[in-house]
Assembly symmetry: C2
Homo-oligomer: 446 residues x 2
C-alpha cells in the first residue's frame, strides 16, 4: 500500500481525553476514531489489526473443532424472558422498541439465542457434542465508558458455546477451549494467564479469566510468577486426547484477581520469592454452567433409550476489539506502538528517505511489488514528507520492521532494516531483504 | 469438513411462511434461521456463503483503489441533524435512547459518519481523491419485512463513499465503481444489469441500480435484451485510464426499472425483437451527489492557492446478505440450490454411498484430506444416512460438484463426479479427481 493513496489520519498531539497508553496511541496512530461515548470507528489501519486478531482466533477455534456461525446484533426481549435474564440484566442492556413497539435489545452476549438455535437444530444424542462460535459486535451500555476500546460500549467479541450430553463431556469441551485460548493469546504475542474467576451474570460454577499482565490493567492480580514460564501447548496438541495434565499444570500455580483472591492460601502456597502482585487486563473468560440455560429453555435431545436429556453447556468469550488495546498496553514505548508480528496491520514499512529522488523511489517501488508478490504486506511511505517525520511516523504506528531506502545505502547496494521493538538495525541488499521476508511469510508458524 | 461433526440443520418440509424460492431454500438448506421478523441468524453453511461474497466484493473494490474501514452500527442522532436527514428519515430508522437518554440510531447508511471522518482526517487537496468502504450490518425498520434475507431488517451491506475535488473527479470515481460492480457481480456468477435510477433519500442527480433478472424480483424491468450480451471488463481493466467508452457501451442500450421507465423512448429506441420486459432484484446502487453532504457538514480541503473547497461525493452500496438470496433466485431448480462456484459454501461434496463400508470410508477420508491440502474445501457426508437421502441433501444444499464414492465404482478404480447445475456425470480415478480440483484451485480466476 502506498501511503500517498491510503487513509491514515495520524494526530500530532496527545488527545486530552486519553488516560492510558493504548487509548492515546490508537487515536494518535489513526487506528480508531471516537464517534460517540464508547463507540468507535475502526479506521483502515485499525481494521487491519482487528482482522489479524480475528484470523488467529478463528484458526485456533477451528483447530479445536468449533464451528463458526453469525447471529444478529438485535434480539427479541422475549427470548431473554425465557431464561429469566431480561429483568435481571441491569441498565447495561440497551433496550429498544421498533416501529411496532416490539421489544428488542442489542445483544450483550448470546447464551439464549444460541440455545434456541441448538434446541431447534439438534434433536438426537448422535449430534452432540457441538461447539458453535461467532465473532460479532455486542453492546453494553456502560455507565462510564473509558480507556478507548478497552471499555467501550459497542465492541467486537468472539463468543462461543459448547453443548454436551453430560457434565463430563462439557468439562472436556471447557478444557479444549482452555487450551485453544492459551494458543490464541500466545500466537498474538501476549502472555495471558488463566485465573480462577467468579461466574457473575452468566451463571455456573466454574470459570477462568485470561489476564494479560499490564500496569494499566483494571484488575489487581496475585500470582506465582512461575506461571509466566509455563510452556504453551504446541500446534500438535491433541484435542481428542487427555488434556487434564496440561490443564492441571496451568491451574496448580496460584493466580487470581482480587475478586477471588485468597490471601491465606497465597501466603501458604506461594514462596515469597515467587510472589507477584501486579495488574492485568481481562482478554477472555470461559464458563461451565451445566443446564443453566437448557433447563428453563427446554433444550434437550433424545437418548438411545428414548429418554430426553438436557444439554450441558459452557460459554467462551474473547474480547477481540479489546485485545487490540491490550496488545498495545503490553507492546509500546515512548515513541509509539511496537506490534508483535502476528497482530501488526502491515508486515513492514518501507521509508523512502529522500523524497523526489528517482533512484530511491525506484528501489522502494520494486521492493513493494516483489514483497506483495510473495504475500508480504508492506506500507510504503512515498509521501514528500521529510525523512525525520517519516521515521517518527513509522515508530508511532509501530510496524514490526522498517526498511529505510536512502541514497547513501544504495551507493553501497544496501538498504537498512530496523526491528521496531528492539531498535536493532542491519544492512542488506534488496534481494536479500525480499528473500528474508518471502521465506518468513511462507513458513509463518500457526 | 465431516458432516457428522458439522452443524447443518436442514428442514424436511417447506416452511409455510416462505413465499419465494430463495427464502424457502435458505431455511430448508440450513443457511439461516429467523430470530425475529426480518432478523436472521446465519448458520454455518450460510455464513460461508456470506464470507465468499464478501471476499469477492472486497477484492474487486481493493483492485479499484478503494480502502476498507469499519464504522460502528450505532450513531449519534446529532450527526444526522447536521445533514438534515434525522427528521426527514421516516419510521424505517430505528431510533434508540441509551441509559443517559442520549439519542442514538442504528445506521441504515453512513453518508454522515464517513463525511465526519473525512472532514476530520483530510485537510489538503493533496490527500484526495479517496474512496472508503465498509462491509457492516445495517438496520432498516421495514413496515413489512418479507422474502427472507431479501427484504430483512438487519442486513449486511457494503457501503462505499468517494471524495473528490470537483465534479469531474467525482464522476471518474463513480465510473470506477460502475466498472468494479460489473466485475463483482459477474465473478459471483450472476448477470446484473446497470439501470438508470432515481436517487431517493440519498440525494444527488445521477444514480444506477444493478439489477439481477429474476421472475421473483420486486422491480419491473424494461430493457434491450442485447445488454445481456455485453462483455464484462476483464481483470486487466485500467482504473486509471479512460473508462468513458466502457460506461457508454453499458448505458447506451435501454434498461430501466418501472420507477423511471420512459415508454415513449423504449418504443422508439428498442427494436421490437430486442424488447425484454421482466422482473429483477436490486443488488447494488451507486449515487453521485456532489456537495449534498459536504456543504451542510462543512467538509472541505485547502487548495494550492489557500482557498477552501467543498468535497464532491458519491456513495456506492452492495446488498451483501441480499445477494445470497438473489443468487439463489437465479440459480436453483426443483431439487434445491445450484451455487455458482464463486459463491458456494464448499467447493464440492463427497458422498460416501455405502455407510459402514470400510473401503468407501477410506477413499472418502483420503480424498477429503488431499483436497484440503490443496486448498479445496469439501463437505464429506460421512453420516450413516441412506445413499438416497444423502444425494437429495447434496442437491438441496447445492454444492457445485458432488463426488460419489461407492463400492461398484471402487471395484473399477473410479468415483463418480456430478456437476450440480447440469446433472452431467463422469467417472474418474481419485487421483485424477484431486488433480482436477487442485489445479482449478490454483488458477481460480479473479
Amino acid at each position: 500500500m502506498r501511503l500517498s493513496r491510503y487513509f491514515l489520519p495520524t494526530l500530532k498531539d496527545n488527545p486530552a481525553e486519553a488516560q492510558i497508553a493504548s487509548h492515546r496511541l490508537m487515536l494518535r496512530a489513526g487506528l480508531v476514531r471516537q464517534e460517540a461515548a464508547g463507540i468507535y470507528a475502526w479506521l483502515p489501519l485499525g481494521l487491519r489489526v482487528l482482522r489479524r486478531i480475528e484470523r488467529i482466533v478463528r484458526e485456533e477455534l477451528d483447530r479445536a473443532g468449533a464451528i463458526e456461525l453469525l447471529m444478529p446484533t438485535l434480539q427479541l426481549a422475549d427470548l431473554w424472558r425465557e431464561s429469566g435474564r431480561y429483568d435481571a440484566y441491569g441498565p447495561e442492556m440497551l433496550r429498544i422498541r421498533d416501529r411496532h413497539e416490539r421489544e428488542l435489545l442489542y445483544g450483550p452476549t448470546n447464551e439464549e439465542m444460541v440455545t434456541e438455535i441448538v434446541r431447534a437444530g439438534v434433536t438426537s444424542w448422535r449430534e452432540l457434542p457441538r461447539n458453535l462460535y461467532q465473532i460479532q459486535w455486542k453492546f453494553r451500555d456502560e455507565q462510564r465508558p473509558r480507556f478507548g476500546v478497552m471499555r467501550g460500549r459497542e465492541f467486537l467479541m468472539k463468543d462461543g458455546y459448547s453443548f454436551d450430553l453430560d457434565e463430563a463431556g462439557a468439562r472436556r469441551s471447557y478444557q479444549r477451549m482452555f487450551v485453544a485460548y492459551l494458543r490464541t493469546f500466545a500466537r498474538l504475542g501476549v502472555k495471558a494467564i488463566p485465573m480462577r474467576a467468579e461466574t457473575g451474570p452468566i451463571g455456573g460454577d466454574l470459570s477462568h479469566e485470561f489476564i494479560v499482565l499490564a500496569d494499566t490493567g483494571e484488575s489487581d492480580v496475585y500470582c506465582d510468577r512461575r506461571v509466566l514460564d509455563l510452556p504453551v501447548p504446541g500446534i500438535d496438541v491433541d484435542y481428542d486426547g487427555d488434556l487434564e495434565p496440561l490443564i492441571r499444570a496451568w491451574t496448580s500455580l496460584y493466580a487470581a484477581t482480587s475478586d477471588v483472591h485468597d490471601a491465606a492460601r497465597y501466603d501458604a502456597d506461594v514462596p515469597e520469592a515467587h510472589r507477584l502482585r501486579t495488574r492485568g487486563i481481562e482478554v477472555g473468560q470461559i464458563f461451565y454452567f451445566g443446564t443453566r440455560y437448557s433447563q428453563p429453555m427446554r433444550a434437550q435431545v433424545t437418548m438411545p433409550d428414548g429418554s430426553a436429556r438436557l444439554l450441558h453447556g459452557g460459554s467462551y468469550g474473547i474480547g477481540v476489539s479489546r485485545l487490540a488495546g491490550a496488545i498495545i498496553e503490553a507492546c509500546h514505548d515512548d515513541a509509539g506502538i511496537a506490534w508483535p508480528d502476528a497482530a501488526a496491520p502491515f508486515d513492514l514499512g518501507i521509508v523512502d528517505a529522500k523524497a523526489g529522488d528517482a533512484a530511491t523511489a525506484a528501489v522502494c517501488g520494486d521492493l513493494h511489488a516483489r514483497l506483495a508478490a510473495n504475500g508480504v504486506d508492506a506500507l510504503w511511505d512515498d509521501t514528500d514528507a521529510r525523512a525525520g517525520a517519516k521515521f517518527a511516523n513509522m515508530d508511532l504506528i509501530g510496524l514490526p520492521w522498517q526498511v529505510v531506502v536512502g541514497p547513501r545505502g544504495l551507493a553501497n547496494g544496501v538498504v537498512e532494516l530496523k526491528r521496531r521493538a528492539t531498535g536493532e538495525r542491519m544492512e542488506l541488499s534488496p534481494d536479500d531483504l525480499v528473500a528474508k521476508f518471502a521465506t518468513a511469510a511462507a513458513v509463518t508458524p500457526r
